[in-house]
Amino acid sequence: MLRRQLASLAIVALVALATGFVLADQVRSQLLTPSNQVARYQALVRSVQELEAANADSRRQIAQLRSAIDALESAAAARSSTTQALRGQVADLRGHAGLVAMHGPGVVVVLRNGVAGPGPGGASAYLVNYQDVQDVVHLLYSEGAEGIAVNGRRLTPLSAFGGTEGQIVIDQGPPLSSPITVAAVGDRNRMSDALADPQQLADIRAREVQFQLDLAFTGRPDVQLPAYDSSLQVPHVSPA
């Protein structure tokens, strides 16, 4: 009798669980109509989520493949001096391309959104945008930065910035938003002096005053930069 009761209870519980899943799914994927603005927006958000998950998975696989290739090349280099020499050349080139993690003295810059306010562009001018990141990166490179990463995404010689509103897209990465951390390895005093110079980063300085956009930086004895983990293909280029 007790066993029968327990079995009944288990069946009812399973049905309840299944009902919960079906109910939640129905709420999420209700039929979209032109007037159903909220549902259409939800669908867009879900699309972004799925694409971001695929993006992260691809980058993980790429990092694993590069590590595996490095191990195979190391094994081949152990058997041949020619291979060893070639590997040395490529190691240096990979370093400059951003394909190798690096560390050294440098600076870390953090950009944070401000507060929305009245005035021209007030609806979005308080947001950190891709031009702000571009401006900070260019300043650091012009002051001798040897490597830079933005929110843990390493920059390469082909890196480009894009995005809209407060969403920043760098290369093939997922969108980034405030707070944005720009880490750079190089002459920390020279980079710090440039960041402290009120003549530099004029647009950011103006929005710091008007919209409380926030730029803060610190010099550090050791800044770690990860290896680039995305595509670095140039299919249209060949040696001249």
Binding site: F21, A76, H138, P157, A160, S177
Partner: protein, 216 residues
């Protein structure tokens, strides 16, 4: 017994619904304030990015297979090919390929304008860029000096002739939009572009050894 069963059922339904709704809320929090049009652009960017990542994965998988085959010379060939590709990416060798040339005649354009132009081209798929015979990659300083705009320490007076190698269709779209916007700028006298089956870039970036950075 019956009361306990009902309690358990209600708990299970509530748990499942909560987990589903919270995971949805997490995604939405990261995209708070982003309008539908911006989301659509993000989706477009992510599709293109994911296609590039798939291509890279396929290439790396091929290289791994070639190296794992143990064939004589496989490692040397892969390393030689990679060295050539990286030298091209870093601007260390002359290169050729399909692309566009953009000519901008203006007075008063600044280093920020040049940075925006170069970034737009890079975001549009540029694989190699040269301005007035000066090779440019991300990391090359583009700065404002008393004489005008300097790229890697060389002042580049207008007109700016920009040679770009990459996907011609994408670059054409970018250049079309870019030159339209430039022509609306009062500082710009003319801004034109031309697609070409072959663009040759002979300039190179000067190699700079690391002083502070050490491989981890």
């Amino acid at each position: 017994m019956r009361g306990g069963a009902i309690w358990l059922i209600a708990l299970l339904v509530a748990l499942v619904a909560t987990v589903q709704i919270r995971s949805q809320a997490e995604v939405e929090r990261s995209l708070v304030g982003v309008d539908a049009t911006s989301l659509a652009f993000l989706i477009d960017d992510l599709h293109r990015a994911n296609d590039s990542l798939s291509s890279e994965r396929a290439d790396l998988t091929r290289r791994q297979s070639a190296l794992a085959s143990g064939q004589s010379g496989a490692a040397d060939q892969e390393l030689t090919d990679e060295a050539t590709r990286l030298r091209a990416i870093e601007g260390l060798i002359a290169v050729r390929g399909p692309g566009i040339t953009v000519v901008i005649d203006a007075s008063g354009l600044t280093a920020l304008d040049m940075q925006d132009l170069l970034n737009n081209l890079a975001a549009g798929g540029a694989e190699a860029i040269e301005v007035n015979g000066q090779r440019v990659v991300t990391g090359v300083p583009v700065t404002e000096v008393s004489d005008g705009v300097s790229v890697d320490g060389v002042v580049l007076p207008p007109p700016w002739r920009i040679s770009v190698i990459g996907d011609t269709a994408r670059l054409t779209d970018v250049a079309d939009l870019m030159t339209q916007q430039l022509r609306a700028d009062r500082r710009v006298r003319s801004a034109t572009f031309e697609a070409k089956p072959e663009v040759v870039i002979r300039s190179v970036v000067s190699e700079k050894p690391y002083v502070y950075a050490v491989a981890s």
